[in-house]
């Protein structure tokens, strides 16, 4: 909520009793603890080296038209399901890489850094997940949504989530403050809505954090 020409928050006067004021101050401190601020230049480097533009537009060229601005051409859409191999087979879902530029209406301009962080770490769709610090991966605990809604495949957040916290904040900083907004309305992806929550996917990608080194496939050098 932005209210111009007015103090954003006032506690005095709301506090009818000591208990109430203690509660309000506690609530205020919680919301006021700002998330870490990422570094735009480092964020750009990570975005370039992780192929974000391969799907979201512009490949590895930040000077390209449509850099990270999402689907502008049907060739950028994905077919999810058996139709990926056999045209016409069902079920068949079309997913579309979103506009990652900070345009308010069509991009990520109205999402906070923390919502972008939560999208990259937990795969949670920023438009459906509150701006809160998530401290658990169990639905209903530690602010993890009771009914999580995940990004559409093939967004590879299950790999990207293994970046450090700082790297994810850096990506969010670059997308929010290092890009000019581009107006490009991308049609919403179709399902499958619970793809990343399915038992089929989970064993493939393991847990977060990843199993401790060395696993049976690995060895100490």
């Amino acid at each position: 909520m932005r209210v111009s020409s007015r103090a954003p928050y006032r506690i005095v006067g709301l506090a009818g009793s000591l208990a109430l004021s203690v509660f309000l101050i506690a609530a205020w401190t919680r919301t006021a603890s700002a998330p870490p601020v990422g570094n735009v230049v480092r964020g750009r480097s990570i975005v370039l080296s992780h192929g974000c533009g391969d799907c979201h537009g512009g490949f590895a060229n930040p000077a390209a038209k449509g850099w990270l601005a999402g689907v502008m051409d049907p060739s950028q859409e994905f077919k999810i399901g058996p139709c990926y191999i056999t045209p016409g087979a069902q079920p068949c879902f079309t997913t579309r890489p979103r506009n990652l530029t900070p345009d308010n209406a069509t991009g990520i301009g109205r999402f906070t850094d923390r919502q972008l962080f939560n999208a990259l770490r937990f795969g949670l769709r920023p438009g459906e997940t509150p701006d809160v610090e998530i401290t658990s991966q169990t639905p209903g605990k530690g602010n993890f949504p009771v009914h999580p809604h995940y990004l559409a495949p093939p967004m590879p957040w299950m790999s990207w989530r293994n970046m450090t916290d700082q790297e994810l904040w850096d990506i969010a900083a670059y997308l929010k403050r290092g890009l000019k907004p581009v107006v490009n309305k991308v049609a919403d992806s179709e399902g499958p809505p619970d793809f990343w929550a399915s038992e089929f996917v989970k064993p493939m990608y393991g847990t977060y954090p990843a199993a401790a080194f060395p696993t049976a496939n690995e060895k100490q050098p």
């Binding site: 906070t112 701006d131 919403d188």
Partner: protein, 463 residues
């Protein structure tokens, strides 16, 4: 304050049993009166669908609840008795009344409890409104069980007073084979779809009946007051082969009639239509709801694009009436001047969230001084529609995606289509206090897609 007590009318003066399509009875007179009545919410076993009985909730034993008819100037005292096994309230959707009488979740009424809602119907507020529960987290279930009803407020100088009137309360519901209301356990696949789309039912009701018959005489003009009391369904109403004039919405009449082929009526919205009976004696037509894609692609229902029948319009065999001349001007709607707006609130709607937050009863999300004129910019940043409702104050939509609204209207709820930005202007007249604003898809509201506007008593705006 005058010490003279206005005359008190009996309960029956205002508590009109909702006889199907009952016509306008009382001609509004400019007298001041007090209307006092009791609404009791109780469990009831009722026949909602043919051949079956259902455990429901009902106001005064009926679904929809009794239609409340008031006149501008009425002082209203409603004694609410909550005989439900759970906390409830009654919210008088759209009425401009004190916050203490608004029936918001801030004033819950416990099981067995009572609450007196006392308010005055101010001049200029004639229109079609409705009432329903508004407890924290439970509104959707209580409305689904049957708690909703219509309110008609009449003006002494109603330009359409001579036209026969019909009330159409639209709703939908879903039933188990046992006949019980299908309220899914919150972890079931259907409940997850309901949480996303808002709960829709496959059975469509008009005044609690399935495809009822409404009679009209050839040549007659009828005034239809329509309430969309469903939790999430958007009706796109069309009456083939008929001339329909759109004459009013949430806060009453427009300035002049608008000819339409169809209207989109989102959940919570109301409309007033003039339907001219251009059919021949003995013929019939069907009022339908046409497909409207408000859904996110992942959870769009399989049959979303099928038209559905709502009611049969049956022409009597009587000879046609002489053509009726309709007024070309209905009333004047004051302009809320954008130059006088002292603040702009940006409200971002995403899925289940307002400004990326869920509801907190102890938080105030927006503040404005009493009497101030302010602009609200509502941005829907996700791929499904949300209907946005502000309690307490009627507003005027300014523009949608920058395109100016074609005509002025008083609104208290407006559908914000997917990825659309809409602005409205509102003046916080008369009543300070805490007012809810929320998505009126009841599942979204119950999951916290709601915020609080506090209108502060100190006067800092223009007079």
């Amino acid at each position: 304050m005058s010490s003279r007590r206005p005359p008190r009318f009996s309960t029956f003066a205002a508590l009109v049993a909702p006889l199907l399509f009952s016509g306008a009875t009382a001609h509004a007179r400019p007298t001041s009166r007090t209307v006092e009545l009791t609404l009791t919410a109780s469990p009831a076993r009722l026949a909602l669908v043919p051949g079956q009985s259902t455990d429901a909730f009902a106001y005064n034993g009926q679904i929809p609840g009794p239609t409340l008819e008031f006149r501008e100037g009425d002082r209203v005292v409603i004694h609410f008795r909550n005989n439900l096994p759970e906390t409830s309230t009654i919210h008088w959707h759209g009425l401009h009344i004190p916050a203490s009488a608004d029936g918001s979740p801030l004033n819950p009424v416990k099981p067995g409890g009572t609450y007196d809602y006392v308010f005055t119907i101010l001049p200029g507020t004639a229109g079609t409104y409705w009432y329903h529960p508004h407890p924290d987290h439970r509104t959707g279930d209580q409305v689904a069980k049957g708690l909703y009803g219509a309110i008609v407020v009449r003006a002494a100088d109603d330009p359409l007073a001579s036209i026969p009137e019909k009330l159409l309360v639209l709703s939908d519901n879903r039933f188990l084979t046992s006949g019980e209301v299908d309220l899914q356990h919150h972890d079931s696949p259907q409940a997850l779809i309901d949480e996303q789309n808002g709960r829709e039912g496959d059975v469509l009701f008009v005044n609690g009946q399935v495809i009822p018959r409404l009679t009209i005489r050839s040549g007659e003009v009828q005034r239809w007051r329509i309430v969309n009391a469903s939790a999430a369904r958007v009706f796109r109403l069309a009456l083939p082969g008929h001339e329909v004039l759109y004459v009013g919405s949430d806060g009453g009449l427009f300035e002049r009639p608008v000819p339409v082929k169809e209207i989109v009526l989102a959940n919570g919205e109301r409309a007033e239509l003039l339907v001219r009976g251009t059919g021949t004696p003995g013929s019939r037509e069907t009022l339908q709801t046409l497909p409207y894609d408000r859904y996110t692609p992942q959870t769009r229902p399989a049959n979303w694009n099928a038209p559905r029948d709502l009611l049969t319009l049956q022409y009597s065999d009587e000879a046609p009436l002489a053509p009726v001349v309709l007024p070309s001007v209905l009333r004047r709607i004051p302009v809320l001047d954008t130059a006088k707006a002292t603040a702009t609130h940006v409200i971002v709607l995403s899925q289940g969230l307002i400004n990326n937050k869920t509801m907190d009863m102890h938080r105030v999300d927006a503040r404005g001084p009493l009497g101030a004129t302010e602009i609200w910019q509502i941005e829907n940043v996700v791929g499904m529609d949300h209907s946005f409702h502000l309690h307490g104050f009627q507003f005027q939509v300014l523009d949608r995606n920058g395109v100016p609204e074609p005509f002025r209207a008083w609104k208290d709820i407006v559908n914000v289509p997917k990825h659309e930005t809409l602005r409205f202007i509102v003046r916080y007249d008369d009543y300070p206090g805490k007012w809810m604003f929320h998505c009126h898809i009841l599942d979204h509201e119950d999951h916290g897609m709601m915020g609080i506007l506090e209108v502060t008593p100190q006067h800092r705006g223009r007079p």
